[in-house]
């Protein structure tokens, strides 16, 4: 009967506090994560490079101004990326439905990619609000200083 009292779950319920062993485990997990990252600057560089590569497929960025940092919080380690965006790319990958597993844009068979079709369409005058010629709004009007015209 008294053995039951030794059980840690019982203690937790009784005193409503996390056991110090569990606290230690959690703190250790986070600190080792941080230590491992600190010890692998090449991993961080590779991560940053690939991250910016992916971002650059969608928007124009200045890689020099991009910052990737790791922030240690009470219960987690978070990666923060601060990437100034110059403009949205006209030749960005298509919507998710037309993507293959690796995320690359994939044209439906026997159809030219949408982007090429857009380019062939003549556009003698730009719509006043900077919306692209095919009528879809990429961003609220006036978002970009230079209108994203075909």
């Amino acid at each position: 009967m008294f053995e039951f009292f030794k059980n840690t779950e019982f203690f937790k319920t009784l005193f409503g506090r996390e056991s110090s062993g569990a606290t230690a485990r959690e703190r250790l997990r986070l600190v080792l994560l941080s230590d491992h990252l600190a010890l692998a600057p090449d991993v961080i560089d590779a991560l940053k490079a690939e991250l910016l590569e992916v971002i650059a497929r969608y928007v124009d960025i200045d890689p020099e101004m991009a910052e990737v940092t790791f922030e240690q919080r009470e219960r987690e380690l978070a990666m923060l990326a601060s990437v100034p965006i110059k403009s949205v790319r006209k030749d960005r990958p298509s919507a998710p439905a037309q993507r293959t597993a690796n995320g690359r844009a994939h044209a439906p068979p026997n159809q030219p990619p949408r982007r090429r079709r857009r380019r062939r369409r003549p556009s003698p005058t730009a719509p006043p609000n900077g919306a692209p010629p095919d009528g879809t709004l990429l961003a609220p009007p006036g978002t970009f200083e230079n209108s994203a015209q075909a």
């Binding site: 053995e3 030794k6 840690t8 203690f11 056991s19 062993g21 569990a22 485990r25 250790l28 230590d35």
Partner: protein, 263 residues
């Protein structure tokens, strides 16, 4: 066949490297293996003290490396275990007195006429660590279930893996009642965090300090609880697939709780 060359390391000081080296070495010698224990903690030697041979040091590791004596002159034969020898560190020098190449060569020499060369590594990850590891081909990482020790062990595990040195863990100073109460991490926690196999688990024992003070490895005394544990670790080291023993008395409620394991 050449000896197994095993470094006993930890990163953190004071977790039981020297005590483990001494007792594991003695346990292997008790089985009839030819064992040499090497103290590489130049400047802060303690293996001699723990083995009780401090008054019998004539030549030390540095003198051998510097060619001022023959290797066999520096080896101290233990009087209690026929096949056990000790090579003491120098006391009045520091760890920069020898190089990694010299250490590797010396351990190679020792390996020729022994079954085990067990290298007691100093605390830290600097020169002393690199020297100790240079002569080894395997490692035993000793840690306790405390955050600082595990953090340092993790660093050492990383360095050993960089050098592709296979390693196993010994978790020392486990306090079962604290683990049960959730106030100490369990051996499963430790093994998982470090991602390594466990060679042995040694409970905290008040008697250990006395044995090191007297220079009498506790495997000499079979009434010592830990003597049996070091014996099992030696057997496991040699390849026997021994499970960690349940040392709690069986109880009606034991199936509800994690039995603490040692051995």
């Amino acid at each position: 066949m050449s000896a197994r060359r095993i470094v006993v390391t930890s990163g953190k000081g004071g977790v039981g490297k020297t005590t483990t080296t001494a007792n594991l070495g003695a346990a292997l010698a008790k089985k009839g293996r030819r064992v040499v224990l090497v103290d590489t903690d130049i400047g802060l030697r303690n293996l001699d003290l723990v083995m009780g041979v401090e008054k019998r040091i004539v030549f030390d590791l540095v003198e051998v490396v510097e060619g001022r004596c023959q290797l066999r002159q520096a080896l101290i034969r233990d009087k209690r275990f026929e096949s056990l020898k000790i090579l003491a560190a120098a006391q009045t020098r520091d760890k920069t007195a020898v190089s990694e190449e010299q250490m590797d060569k010396l351990m190679g020499e020792l390996a020729k006429s022994n079954d085990y060369v067990i290298i007691d590594c100093p605390a830290g990850i600097e020169h002393g660590f690199r020297n100790a590891v240079a002569g080894a081909r395997e490692a035993i990482v000793v840690t306790t279930p405390e955050v600082s020790a595990i953090r340092d062990a993790d660093r050492v595990v990383g360095k050993l893996r960089e050098r592709e040195i296979p390693l196993q863990l010994i978790i020392n100073r486990v306090r079962p009642e604290m683990v049960k109460a959730g106030e100490m991490m369990s051996i499963e926690d430790v093994g998982e965090i470090l991602g390594a196999d466990i060679l042995g688990v040694i409970p905290d024992d008040e008697g250990v300090i006395d044995t090191t003070n007297r220079g009498e490895p506790l495997v000499l005394d079979q009434t010592q609880k830990l003597a049996a544990i070091y014996g099992r670790i030696a057997r496991r080291l040699e390849g026997e697939d021994l499970p960690l023993t349940d040392l709690d008395p069986p109880s009606v409620f034991s199936k509800f709780f994690t039995m603490w394991k040692a051995g």
